[in-house]
């Protein structure tokens, strides 16, 4: 009996602080936001009215354009995730091969990742708005003379360019570590067996990197869906709201449109979507990992 009780205290001692921190910083705000999602609170007033499921009806009936921003986020996420992972892995391969000044290149590609998204957005906005036309005038090139942030498709491409440039370094670093961790005896025996470099890469190196790929995918997926600062500073969701990511849309509803209740309902939907997608991803890559072990 006494022993059991001591067990509880011991658990409480070691797990308690972390659990309490988690509860205070995550669970409590989450529960509060669930409550707010059933209200029409405007974010300021003292009187709050419960309106049942109205906010959710608004979202799914299309009265609020949240689903539009969901499609945009989905599209840009897919493009971003593919480009970031493929390019990041290619860079890692290149920078683990026998080229000169590897360290320099690694630093150069990783550097954008250390700058905050907001600043990057403002810098690139300047490049798109002022830099590109200047180059275009110099070269008489139609490509640079486009109104880059002014049309739906080019604004989309602009966002992809900047976010890939920003995030590719992170995947590169992880994949570099992974590739360097592949035991050299395996590569050697593959070579002796007559496998080509490409074959070695796909059949030996990549499978052994699977746990790292899981991490990269998880990171890029959840990052891509939570995209906010770049849209906020680079395009401001424009032109005409066509590049509103889900997170930016929620922010605008909460702070610009004074619909705090609706915004919390949207963020709940947002939470469920991200949970589903990353859950599915973890399931499949986890399965792959086990296959290769």
């Amino acid at each position: 009996m006494k022993k059991q009780k001591m067990g509880f205290w011991r658990h409480a001692l070691f797990l308690g602080p972390a659990s309490l921190a988690f509860a205070l910083a995550v669970v409590v705000p989450f529960v509060i936001s669930v409550i707010y999602s059933f209200t029409d609170w405007n974010g300021v007033a003292n009187d709050i009215k419960f309106i049942g499921l109205d906010n959710f009806v608004r979202i799914f009936s299309g009265k609020s354009n949240f689903l539009g921003s969901f499609w945009f986020t989905l599209k840009i996420s897919v493009v971003n995730i593919i480009l970031i992972n493929v390019l990041g892995t290619l860079l890692a391969v290149a920078l683990t091969s026998a080229i000169r000044a590897k360290g320099l290149f690694r630093v150069a590609f990783y550097l954008p990742n250390t700058i905050g998204g907001l600043i990057l957005g403002f810098v690139w906005q300047f490049i798109f708005v002022t830099g590109f036309p200047a180059i275009g005038q110099l070269l008489q090139s139609g490509f640079f003379n486009q109104q880059w942030l002014g049309t739906e498709s080019t604004a989309f491409i602009g966002l992809v360019i900047v976010s890939v440039w920003q995030n590719v370094g992170y995947v590169m670093v992880i994949m570099t570590a992974a590739l360097m961790g592949v035991p050299s005896d395996l590569i050697e025996s593959a070579r002796i067996d007559g496998a080509s470099a490409v074959c070695t890469f796909f059949k030996v190196k990549l499978p052994l990197c699977m746990p790292y790929i899981t991490v990269c995918l998880f990171w890029t997926i959840s990052n891509a869906f939570k995209m906010f600062e770049l849209n906020y500073s680079l395009t401001k969701g424009g032109p005409y709201g066509s590049t509103n990511s889900m997170a930016l849309y929620i922010y605008n509803d909460a702070f610009a449109n004074n619909k705090y209740g609706l915004a919390t309902a949207e963020s709940l939907v947002f939470f469920v979507i991200i949970m589903l997608i990353t859950g599915i991803q973890m399931y499949f890559t986890g399965k792959k990992e086990r296959e290769y072990q």
């Binding site: 205070l24 708005v129 109104q147 880059w148 942030l149 032109p239 449109n257």
Partner: protein, 448 residues
């Protein structure tokens, strides 16, 4: 038993440490706005000082008035005015913080984060209604009777007045006088025909005629769409009608005319969808373009560009009705409200009364803060308000102004309207669809 006690003590201290961590989280969220200005930190410290005010309890206790306001251009001047006032009234001291871009977000987070300012900017009617539960009723103040009607209407809710009008602002096309002269334009155009003739002359002289920041929804949604509302026969009734469904944007003749005019305007711009506020300002300040949408709030920026640049305000001529076109658009764009839970309420009221009723205070408003006052008893100082302000003042004095109604929009409509304008000028939709888009935006955002 002893051991258990010790464990308990450990746990408790852990909980206390966590409690502190918890507080850290809540105050931190107050600054969760994407940009954190150094000024915000200053104010944070100042707010901390407030509690420590008892330290110099030997003398009278000082009260700190924390002003959080939207007009970044007057930040420096306002700090000076406050300093002057503190010298006369040693019992109060001021902390002034100004922010433009994230003002509205930061204000909310300041209130929820427990750092509510004592005085803050209210931009108009909808904003006043939003914050009403936090605002002190100022109806009994001596300056209320002196307010011009334009100012009173926007800040009055259920008969109560909730803010001190800070200044009258107005807009139209901002034009470069020298470039107009170069092109041989002797009189500012007041009709569409004259406008087209002027633009042709500018183009013939090799001057780029117009630039507009169509990349941002802000000016389009707030100022261009307001042209259509202000030119309705009875704008207030029109707005009321939009809310109860008796009037509509759809196929409204004024808005169709406005749409045609915007299409003409955009056709004379270079890269309109890639022009943002900064580009617009720099093009105009560098005298590379003759006209752009602008108001007297642009004066400080133009002053920085140097004495070489001479600019004026002219109407926004959407059709050929001379009388209806020869007007500017004006309104009170900012009020200062008092936080009703502020400890320094009475001191702030005194400060407001000093500003608006005593000669020294009025002088601070007109020359230091360079404002066009929203009061009957004193006038703007022509040397301080610059060319744009002088043009605006003269239009106001002749009664040739329409109102500014964006403060009556439902929250978020300015953006929806701006995006509708963007779609129109990008060639995505035509004039009729533009009016439908406006109506949709209004219907989705109005509060039932």
């Amino acid at each position: 038993m002893k051991e258990r006690k010790r464990l308990l003590a450990l746990l408790l201290s852990g909980v206390m440490a966590l409690g502190m961590f918890g507080c850290g989280v809540t105050t931190g969220s107050g600054d969760a706005a994407p940009e954190k200005t150094p000024a915000a930190q200053d104010s944070g410290e100042a707010a901390g000082d407030k509690g420590a005010g008892t330290a110099d309890a030997g003398t009278t206790e000082k009260k700190t008035i924390y002003i959080y306001q939207l007009k970044i251009q007057i930040d420096e001047a306002l700090k000076n005015v406050c300093k002057q006032y503190s010298e006369m009234h040693p019992e109060v001291e001021f902390v002034v913080e100004s922010e433009a871009d994230n003002y509205f977000t930061s204000l909310k987070t300041k209130f929820t984060g427990g750092q509510a300012p004592d005085v803050f900017t209210i931009v108009g009617n909808a904003d006043a209604k939003l914050w009403q539960s936090h605002l002190e009723d100022l109806s009994d103040q001596p300056w209320v009777a002196d307010m011009i009607d334009l100012a009173k209407q926007d800040i009055t809710i259920d008969g109560g007045v909730y803010g001190l009008p800070v200044s009258v602002e107005g807009y139209g096309y901002m034009y470069n006088k020298k470039l107009f002269e170069q092109a041989g334009i002797t009189q500012v155009p007041t009709t569409l025909t004259e406008m087209k003739a002027a633009v042709d002359k500018l183009e013939a002289a090799g001057i780029s005629p117009i630039t507009q920041p169509y990349m941002d929804w802000y000016q389009a949604g707030n100022f261009m769409v307001n042209v259509g509302i202000a030119r309705q026969e009875d704008p207030m009734a029109f707005l009321q009608g939009l809310n109860d469904g008796s009037t509509t944007f759809v196929d409204n003749p004024v808005f169709l005319t406005l749409a045609d005019y915007l299409l003409y305007d955009v056709s004379k711009c270079t890269n309109p969808m890639n022009t943002d506020f900064n580009t617009q300002t720099s093009l105009f300040s560098n005298q590379e373009v003759a006209m752009t949408l602008g108001g007297n709030w642009n004066q400080p920026t133009l002053d920085e560009a140097g004495p070489d640049l001479s600019a004026g305000l002219m109407p926004f001529p959407i059709d050929d009705d001379k009388e209806a076109n020869d007007m500017l658009f004006a309104g009170v764009t900012g009020y200062w409200g008092i936080n009703k839970d502020s400890e320094a309420k009475e001191e702030i009221k005194e400060f407001f009364t000093w500003l608006s009723t005593t000669p020294e205070g009025q002088k601070c408003m007109t020359t230091d803060l360079q404002m066009i006052p929203a009061f009957r008893s004193f006038e703007a100082d022509p040397d301080s308000i610059g060319e744009l302000g002088t043009d605006l003042s003269s239009y106001i004095n002749q009664g040739k102004v329409y109102g500014m109604y964006h403060s009556y929009y439902p929250d978020g409509f300015a953006q929806a309207a701006g995006e509708a304008v963007q779609k129109l000028v990008a060639g995505n939709i035509d004039g009729a669809a533009f009016t439908r888009e406006l109506q949709n935006g209004w219907d989705n955002l109005k509060t039932e």
